[in-house]
């Protein structure tokens, strides 16, 4: 055997120096051609001009300590921002007019929400669907007492206890699954456990007394979250029903669903809010008072359901007919095949659009300020009407814009992440 016959590849030449390192990257990505270089310069200039103007006003020339707006004006005029006014109003911007000594309830309510959601992100938890459903359906019951409080009555008390049970059950499940004690939560023992939990919850709730805080005192970011939270929670199931209705073979049901969807999609949210705000009391018998917040929530829910319905319809259309037929062939009924076969696949496709629609809904809640609810935007507006900070207008708006951006941006980033993770199984 001679060594000469074995193929000896030559060592590869190094890449040309002009394509390597920082220089190479810059040449390849920024200045590969003359127009490209010009574009780069232009882009860099726009970014610079924009940020230097904003930073100059918001940070460099801004006033950070002052007792009232007069002091700010005397210091920098209108060239720099006057942040002390916003600082003084931050509690209102976040919690609205909620009594200051009760604000802990809002914090606690949201803490429960976060705690409840934690198992959803733990890798070993398998009952994520059940926990998620429980969160969506039962958390509002629990939160209602945290936020509103007051006299419970029998029915409401029972419902609050249901919420508490859901919370405890979610965590027990998570713990049990962590320790692989699944049998504890199966069969009859699960029902016994649930009954026990409910009894405990009832006992706790009966001893639990919070002062009433009327909804007209709710406001700020808190109110914005409540309204959009309701909208998001209601719109998904309602949207699914409407979409199924629209695709139904029963002509009248399809007609009613289609009319509803098209009607609400064709008008601006502001008109819907307006109609519900001013007209709902006229539609109901004299003497029936419907809470202003509730009216806004109903309007937002109806509106967003119509949008969600179209997203869901798009998702349903993307499912191959074979899936429906296969489901029918193994003897599944309409509701079974829809909920077990079609929807799970459709929902996965729809995630980006659903999150997009949630973001839209969250942003759209700014409109409730127009019917006089003290959401984040109205509160920002109220800052400039405070005699101490009279005329302070741009700064609170800037602040609120930042809050919206942080929320919406994180949501959209999470949706990218989710899309990437769920799509992983689909990629080939």
């Amino acid at each position: 055997m001679s060594d000469a016959l074995i193929f000896q590849p030559k060592a590869g030449k190094p890449a040309p120096p002009s394509t390597l390192g920082v220089v190479g990257w810059v040449r390849g990505n920024l200045v590969s051609s003359l127009p490209n270089a010009a574009l780069t310069l232009l882009g860099a200039y726009i970014v610079y001009a924009f940020f230097s103007a904003v930073i100059g006003w918001a940070i460099v020339d801004a006033v950070w300590e002052a007792q009232n707006r007069r002091e700010c004006l005397d210091l920098v005029g209108r060239a720099g921002a006057c942040w002390p006014g916003v600082k003084a109003w931050i509690p209102n911007l976040i919690y609205g007019l909620y009594p200051k000594d009760q604000v802990w309830r809002i914090n606690a309510g949201f803490l429960v929400l976060v705690l409840w959601a934690v198992p959803l992100f733990l890798p070993w938890v398998r009952s994520k669907v059940m926990i998620g459903l429980g969160l969506v359906l039962l958390y509002p019951l629990l939160a209602s007492y945290f936020f509103h409080g007051g006299d419970k009555g029998l029915v409401w008390g029972a419902l609050i206890a249901l919420g508490l049970t859901g919370f405890l059950w979610s965590w027990l499940t998570a713990i049990a699954e962590a320790r692989r004690e699944a049998p504890l939560l199966e069969g009859r023992r699960r029902w016994i456990l649930l009954a026990g939990l409910y009894a405990v919850s009832l006992l706790v709730v009966s001893q639990w007394v919070l002062d009433e805080v009327q909804t007209r005192l709710w406001g700020g970011l808190f109110l914005t979250l409540v309204i959009s939270g309701f909208g998001i929670t209601v719109s998904l199931p309602a949207g699914i029903l409407l979409a199924l209705g629209r695709r139904s073979r029963m002509p009248l049901i399809a007609a009613v669903s289609t009319t509803f969807i098209e009607l609400f999609r064709s008008v601006p949210l502001i008109t819907v809010l307006f109609m519900f705000n001013t007209m709902l009391p006229l539609f109901l018998p004299a003497g029936v008072e419907v809470n202003r917040l509730l009216r806004a929530i109903v309007a937002v829910c109806l509106f967003s359901s119509a949008y969600m319905a179209e997203i869901v319809r798009g998702g349903l259309q993307a499912i191959p007919k074979g899936q429906y037929e296969a489901a029918a062939a193994v003897g599944l009924g309409f509701w079974q095949s829809t909920s077990l076969i079609v929807l799970p696949q459709a929902l996965r496709i729809m995630i980006p659009s659903i999150v997009g629609s949630f973001i839209g809904l969250f942003k759209d809640t700014t409109l409730v300020s127009i019917i006089g609810l003290f959401d984040l935007l109205s509160m920002a507006r109220a800052v400039g009407e405070d005699t101490v900070w009279l005329g302070l207008f741009i700064e609170p708006f800037f602040f609120v814009t930042m809050i919206y951006f942080v929320f919406c941006f994180s949501m959209s980033q999470y949706s990218f992440h989710l899309e990437a993770r769920l799509g992983a199984g689909q990629r080939r």
Binding site: L30, P285, C408, F409, S412
Partner: protein
């Protein structure tokens, strides 16, 4: 309940439908009787008689003629005209910007594609209402006062009262020029169709663009000169507080248009990007293999296929833009919602007819667009195999 009638699919279908209809009818009946009773009890009037009453307030920007003494009905018309104007200009601008940003997003230049990405992320994640206010105060209110206007050739002026431009005043016989222009455009289209025919038959694209331009311009110019140049320009002049004459648009209009089109352009850019990316890469490769030039690959291979994905969401963005123009109220541009559902409602107090008319208008627009869209969809679907 196991009787055969209940498990019969037809019977169940009839039952569910009857149920739905009954529910809807009951809901309407309940709502209407309550409303009628409440209104009569509280002495509110639902009639449309107020439409003839003089409105009595001024409107800062109107496309059609309006005076303070005109009726509420006229205000409604002014509002509709303004809303439609915003929608049309906004849609055109948004499409152009969206296309540019969408392509920038796909650009090989790292800085450009990154800027495009952040542009989209930043703008679509902040409420439009706040963006409109930001444009109004951050840009248009900071422009110089009328005396120090930015001017272009003594014809166009930009200041913090708005944008002023000369307005054409057609004289006797200007219609003929317009007819010649229309005929020229039609002829140019015929030439273009012919050129396309040639392209598909022979694979060669004749140079027709200079001919097309000549066809559009020359006859019109000729007629214009022959009829004695019947067109005067009314140039804005600074007099008293502000520019007089010409046409002008207020800063609120500029801010609204820019905010709306930039906001919508983010969504359009994403639609265009995903549309182009949805065309399988094999198509590009196949075109390259056949020796089609890259520019023509885009024009004749990719875009026609991408359009099918792009058009439906694009139209719904157009509708969104039209609906979002109702946010004009925040900066006081007199669109339909601002001038009708806010000011007129406030001055006349007739909530029900006014809200109903506003919603009716938006419904009508959407319905009209949906009809056209459905027709397009049917055509696009048919050509698919």
């Amino acid at each position: 309940m196991t009787t055969p009638i209940l498990s019969n699919a037809t019977a169940r279908a009839i039952f569910y439908q009857a149920l739905t209809v009954l529910g809807v009818v009951l809901l309407f009946w309940y709502t209407i009787t309550n409303t009628v009773e409440n209104m009569s009890q509280r002495g509110m009037s639902a009639g449309f008689d107020f439409l003839d009453v003089s409105a009595g307030f001024g409107i800062g920007f109107k496309l059609i003629d309006y005076r303070e003494g005109d009726s509420y009905l006229r205000v409604f018309e002014v509002g509709i005209a303004n809303t439609l104007l915003v929608a049309v200009i906004g849609i055109a601008l948004a499409t152009v910007i969206g296309l540019v940003v969408g392509l920038a997003r796909l650009s090989g230049n790292w800085l450009i594609s990154t800027i495009a990405r952040w542009y989209i992320e930043m703008l679509r994640n902040t409420p439009l209402l706040l963006q409109i206010i930001a444009w109004y105060f951050g840009v248009f209110n900071l422009l110089p006062r009328p005396r120090d206007s930015v001017e272009w050739g003594g014809l166009f002026f930009l200041n913090n009262r708005g944008f002023y431009l000369p307005s054409p005043e057609p004289g006797q016989g200007f219609g003929l020029t317009l007819i010649a222009l229309a005929a020229g455009i039609a002829a140019a289209f015929v030439v273009r169709a012919h050129a396309r025919q040639r392209l598909f038959e022979t694979g060669k694209l004749p140079r027709v663009i200079p001919a097309m331009i000549a066809l559009v311009i020359l006859p019109a110019l000729l007629v214009f000169a022959l009829t004695g140049q019947p067109l005067a320009w009314n140039v804005p002049v600074l007099r008293g507080f502000n520019f007089q004459g010409g046409t002008s648009v207020p800063p609120s209009f500029c801010a609204l248009i820019i905010a709306l089109s930039i906001y919508t352009s983010c969504f359009i850019a994403e639609i265009i990007r995903s549309g182009i990316q949805s065309v399988s890469h094999g198509q590009t490769e196949a075109a390259r293999a056949l020796g089609v030039k890259p520019s023509r690959t885009m024009r004749y291979i990719i875009l026609p296929q991408a359009m099918r994905v792009i058009i439906p969401p694009l139209i719904s963005q157009y509708l969104n833009l039209t609906k979002n123009s109702s946010l004009a109220i925040a900066i006081g541009f007199p669109d339909l919602v601002s001038v009708w559902m806010n000011t007129s409602l406030n001055q006349s107090g007739r909530a029900i007819p006014i809200v109903a008319m506003t919603m009716g208008f938006y419904c009508a627009v959407s319905l009209a667009v949906s009809l056209v869209m459905n027709r397009y969809n049917r055509r696009a679907m048919l050509s698919e195999r």
